[in-house]
């Protein structure tokens, strides 16, 4: 038998727990990418619900491992609000609007994905330089959260329909949630809940926007907003 070659020592292996937590954080980022390329508005909203579920799971994970009981409450709130309530409302608005597909890609899908990869790499590198050591979640999750935020911006910029803008804004909040779990897991509950109420207000605003926009233009595309009215 030939022994296995090993030129240099491989990097340290994360423990099963932190590896699992980081895999969930990667899922959050992957669902952001999926939202960027999903053609149907409905599937974007479902992906947002899935992403929120992953964030909830992360909050639950931190609560269980770090013994922060407030985080259980936060996980419960965010499950109700972000997995059930918000996607439900947006899906219902979409059903009323009876629009399935909005041709809203400003660039080709492959180009968008490559651009988003470049942005996430940027986020990884920049945040990796920060001297942050988290005790609640593996530190790379902070880079992942920053990548989620940047890709959410890209989603808002590159897709020109109201649903994408709303979903992009909501998922931006998911990225911020992950970042706050990494950096400040013991944040007072009242601050976290205030974030969630912000989200609630945003849902109302975007709901009104969708309704009014669709009522005026019979479409969900924002391209028509460029046209001058005389």
């Amino acid at each position: 038998m030939v022994p296995l070659l090993a030129a240099t020592a491989p990097p340290p292996v994360p423990s099963s727990f932190s590896g699992g937590a980081e895999a969930i954080a990667v899922l959050v980022l992957l669902s952001e990418f999926a939202m960027l390329r999903a053609p149907l508005s409905r599937s974007q909203v479902r992906l947002y619900a899935f992403q929120s579920l992953a964030v909830t799971a992360l909050a639950f994970f931190v609560a269980a491992t770090q013994h922060v009981p407030e985080l259980y409450a936060l996980a419960g709130f965010s499950f109700l609000l972000k997995v059930v309530f918000v996607p439900g409302i947006v899906l219902r608005l979409l059903k009323d609007a009876r629009v399935d597909l909005v041709a809203s890609n400003r660039l080709g899908v492959a180009t968008m994905v490559l651009l988003a990869i470049a942005l996430s790499a940027f986020a990884f590198f920049v945040v990796g330089r920060l001297p942050v050591r988290s005790h609640s979640l593996p530190t790379p999750a902070l880079g992942l959260a920053a990548a989620v935020i940047l890709v959410a911006f890209l989603l808002v910029m590159l897709r020109s329909d109201v649903v994408s803008q709303a979903v992009g804004f909501f998922s931006l909040e998911n990225g911020v949630s992950v970042a706050s779990l990494v950096v400040a897991a013991g944040l007072p509950l009242i601050v976290e809940v205030a974030f969630l109420f912000d989200l609630l207000v945003a849902v109302v605003v975007f709901g009104v926007l969708m309704r009014v926009h669709h009522g005026r233009t019979q479409s969900l595309s924002t391209d028509v907003l460029d046209r001058l009215k005389g």
């Binding site: 038998m1 030939v2 296995l4 070659l5 090993a6 030129a7 240099t8 020592a9 491989p10 990097p11 340290p12 292996v13 994360p14 423990s15 099963s16 590896g19 699992g20 980081e22 895999a23 954080a25 990667v26 980022l29 992957l30 990418f33 390329r37 080709g108 899908v109 492959a110 994905v113 490559l114 988003a116 990869i117 996430s120 790499a121 990884f124 590198f125 990796g128 593996p138 530190t139 790379p140 880079g143 992942l144």
Partner: protein
């Protein structure tokens, strides 16, 4: 019963034989299952063997302008597929003689040479569909290449080598190696690569007869007789080789023989076939539940594979995830 030990060279020969002998069996099993999922009765599981036997008895017809390349291409491809099983852990979890003559990239190069020789042989015929197929196969082969490279980088960063045996050993070592995001992402990216390279549904309908949607399939249209048999056998072997890499290196490197005893090595064969059928069943379900992408949308599929592979490297490089 006294334990009979095999020489490493014999086990190596057995690895190659396993791939050669059982490749049509696995293909037949998957197409049988596919037919069942579609509510058809389907061909026998052993049908590919009958097809091969029939083709080997037929005469070879050459197109008018075809030269020696047309004949050599399928043979060279077949030889390539005989070489690759030596580099990868088909039956054993320890490396065998000649197992270190190439790493993952080396195996990739040999598979690339096989694809290239088939494409050149197809282009030699002057037949429009064969040429269309070889041009498409080369184009999409080049587009999927970055994903393969980044999967290799991931393996290199995890194990500090880029040998398939080392990656399998690392994954077997502990659960935390399996759930680390880099490993999961690389395995998923490689899954998409296999989906592409075996001509499966989001990319190509492998059992279709419509030439305009064909990529790999169109390359064999001009061949006949024993040459066609070699091409079909070769593509079944390529599929099984890719399954070996997916299963025994990334997803499920368990159930391999750990010793040189005859019993352990022989037991590894049915275990491996069971795993191959399991992954084949996953591919059959995917085949039946998605539709084929339009040709110009295939780049989106490639972008997804590339995204997974590059995220694996980024997560590893920046956070030792």
């Amino acid at each position: 019963m006294a334990a009979v030990d095999l020489a490493p060279a014999e086990i190596q020969a057995l690895q190659v034989l396993t791939i050669v002998v059982f490749a049509p069996f696995v293909s037949g099993g998957i197409s049988h299952l596919e037919a069942r999922l579609q509510g058809r009765r389907g061909p026998r599981i052993l049908q590919p063997y009958y097809d091969l036997a029939k083709l080997f008895r037929k005469e070879t017809l050459l197109p008018n302008d075809a030269g020696w390349v047309f004949v050599v291409g399928p043979v060279l491809a077949f030889v390539c597929y005989l070489v690759v099983p030596m580099l990868i852990p088909v039956l054993t979890d320890y490396p065998l003689p000649l197992g270190y003559m190439g790493d993952i990239l080396g195996g990739g190069f040999i598979l690339g040479l096989a694809g290239c020789s088939v494409a050149v042989a197809a282009a030699e015929t002057g037949g429009p569909y064969a040429q269309l197929g070889s041009s498409r196969a080369m184009t999409f082969g080049a587009l999927i290449e970055p994903s393969i490279l980044f999967v290799t980088f991931t393996v290199a960063l995890i194990t500090a080598t880029d040998l398939p045996y080392a990656e399998a050993a690392v994954a077997r070592a502990s659960l935390s190696q399996v759930v680390r995001p880099a490993h999961l992402l690389a395995a998923l990216a490689f899954f998409l690569v296999v989906l592409n390279d075996t001509g499966r549904i989001p990319v190509e309908t492998h059992s279709g007869t419509l030439e305009f949607g064909m990529i790999d399939e169109a390359r064999t249209l001009e061949h006949s007789g024993p040459l066609l048999a070699l091409l079909q056998w070769g593509s079944a072997m390529k599929q099984l080789i890719l399954y070996v890499i997916l299963l025994n290196v990334f997803v499920a490197p368990w159930g391999l023989a750990g010793t040189t005893s005859l019993g352990a090595v022989l037991l590894a064969i049915p275990v491996f076939l069971a795993k191959a059928f399991a992954v084949g069943a996953v591919f059959a379900v995917i085949d039946n539940s998605f539709s084929k992408l339009r040709l110009f949308k295939i780049t989106e599929f490639m972008a997804a594979a590339f995204l997974l592979a590059i995220l694996a490297v980024l997560v590893l490089y920046l956070g030792s995830g």
